[in-house]
């Protein structure tokens, strides 16, 4: 028999290493000889879109085109440390470091423009479209290229470092402020459970993610899709099946991952509530998008068959034996 059920789960997640652990990102912004701007940052791209977000944050802060930015990352000789691509921290931490470095860079550019334009102050100077100009008289203008050609020795560059707020928790009371900021998620699914085969099919899914500010909405949708997939996969599919310390499911024919036939389109809701300490309000969502998925599915299974599954993955054999157990208890 096919039984339907709905389930909901909500979660909140602390961005960064937390619990007092030093959480530092560094960035360097440098003016190139051709007037373009190089960003050096150690943050790693693993497909999550960090490089895209870094360039967007730099372009927005410097008020220049993304084509005029060259990003160098993941090169230990040339790029300053920006910590790991972990803890959903790159957008927030490294994004902040890049924004701070760009803001310092703007001040450096203004100081240089004041010198070149023979002004008595940097007041009223505006940086836009790879130019520095005087707001009141747009003819008093100097381009990034002209500034670059005025640099005689060394590099024209700015550096910045960002350290996230985190306080070690009291080991006795568990009190403290281990994370800053927090990110909130909600997931809702509807499932069909086949009580004869134990197979669970997700037929509807909706996911709402608080992102602070959506720097790149399409990539956020991609992360929600991927996070839901990961959650669905560990809730219903992935089982190492360890017997006597040996992994029995050591190939994809046994260690199952959902194929394109096992997943559905997800109704995605992006919630923007800018975080005051974040670059343009944006927070990372790498991990939060996975967290509420399994509990939502398990709640939906419970709603469908009135049986709680307490061990992951909720494979068909576990659903069948849980149903049988309830049935035999009913008969006693």
């Amino acid at each position: 028999m096919i039984k339907r059920g709905k389930g909901l789960a909500i979660s909140y997640y602390g961005t960064g290493y937390g619990n007092g652990y030093p959480d530092v990102s560094n960035a360097i912004v440098r003016l190139n000889k051709d007037g373009k701007v190089s960003i050096f940052v150690g943050g790693t791209e693993v497909g999550q879109g960090a490089k895209t977000v870094f360039v967007q944050i730099a372009a927005e802060t410097l008020n220049i085109n993304i084509e005029d930015i060259i990003l160098y990352s993941e090169d230990t000789i040339n790029t300053p440390d920006a910590g790991t691509a972990a803890a959903s921290r790159q957008t927030y931490n490294t994004g902040n470091a890049i924004k701070l470095a760009c803001e310092k860079f703007i001040e450096e550019l203004k100081a240089k423009a004041k010198e070149i334009l023979n002004l008595d102050s940097t007041e009223g100077l505006i940086v836009s479209d790879s130019n520095v100009y005087l707001n009141s008289s747009k003819n008093d203008k100097v381009s990034f290229l002209e500034i670059a050609s005025n640099v005689k020795n060394g590099f024209f560059e700015s550096q910045a470092s960002f350290t996230a707020h985190t306080v070690e928790m009291d080991v006795e009371t568990g009190q403290g402020e281990p994370y800053w900021p927090y990110t909130f998620s909600a997931c809702e699914v509807e499932v069909e459970v086949n009580t004869l085969t134990g197979i669970v099919n997700i037929i509807h899914a909706r996911f709402a993610q608080d992102v602070g500010k959506a720097v790149n909405p399409r990539m956020i949708e991609g992360q929600i899709d991927g996070g839901f997939y990961m959650g669905q996969s560990y809730c219903l599919f992935e089982d190492l099946n360890i017997v006597d310390g040996k992994i029995m499911n050591n190939k994809y024919s046994k260690y199952l991952l959902p194929t394109s036939m096992d997943t559905i389109d997800i109704d995605k809701i992006i919630i923007e509530d800018p975080e005051s300490t974040a670059p343009f309000g944006a927070k990372g969502i790498g991990e939060p998008v996975t967290i509420p998925v399994a509990p939502a599915i398990l709640n939906a299974i419970y709603d469908a068959i009135n049986v709680r599954i307490n061990e992951l993955p909720a494979t068909p054999d576990k659903i069948i034996s849980a149903l049988k157990k309830v049935k035999s208890e009913d008969q006693l």
């Binding site: 497909g47 879109g49 991609g222 991927g226 997939y229 994809y252 194929t259 394109s260 997800i266």
Partner: protein, 161 residues
């Protein structure tokens, strides 16, 4: 060692190769077509997919000696110089690439679908890529990309330059 003739990406080759080598070894090690990705090596993941005489196959499951006088298309065969083809453009446009490891095989699976039917339904697309595992995207944006590529092909959608 054996000699074999093979056409890869519209170029004819005559190659001497070890009998024990697979098609993926021929493509990656002899012809340096490293867009062919080796995932599981046992035909489960589809990362090594290529198009062999018009059919999508796992190049890890086919021996090199089996492809004598055959025609193979790899991901490198889709672009002309720096000009990527319409399926690749659609994957970028739809945001269907995350880590990228499944992407070459996925794009060739898309080509195999669209070569037969330029207007596939989402269900037909999901069926057509079900032999290719993706760990990052949950497949939704890949399905969207292939739908979009179909639109480019039949003229209902145009490239955004």
């Amino acid at each position: 060692m054996i000699n074999l003739k093979i056409n890869v990406n519209n170029t004819d080759y005559e190659i001497e190769i070890d009998e024990e080598k697979r098609l993926i070894d021929l493509l990656r090690d002899e012809l340096r077509l490293t867009g062919v990705k080796e995932g599981c090596s046992e035909g489960e993941c589809g990362a090594c997919s290529v198009i062999l005489d018009g059919k999508l196959v796992n190049s890890c499951l086919i021996m090199a000696f089996q492809v004598n006088d055959s025609k193979v298309v790899t991901i490198e065969g889709l672009s002309e110089g720096d000009n990527i083809n319409y399926i690749q453009k659609a994957f970028i446009e739809a945001g269907a690439v995350q880590c990228g490891y499944c992407t070459p095989g996925m794009i060739l699976a898309a080509k195999a679908i669209l070569d037969k039917n330029p207007n596939p339904s989402r269900e037909e697309i999901r069926m057509g890529i079900s032999g290719n595992l993706c760990r990052c995207t949950g497949y939704e944006k890949i399905v969207e990309a292939i739908e979009l590529a179909g639109g480019y092909l039949n003229g209902t959608k145009t490239y955004r330059e």
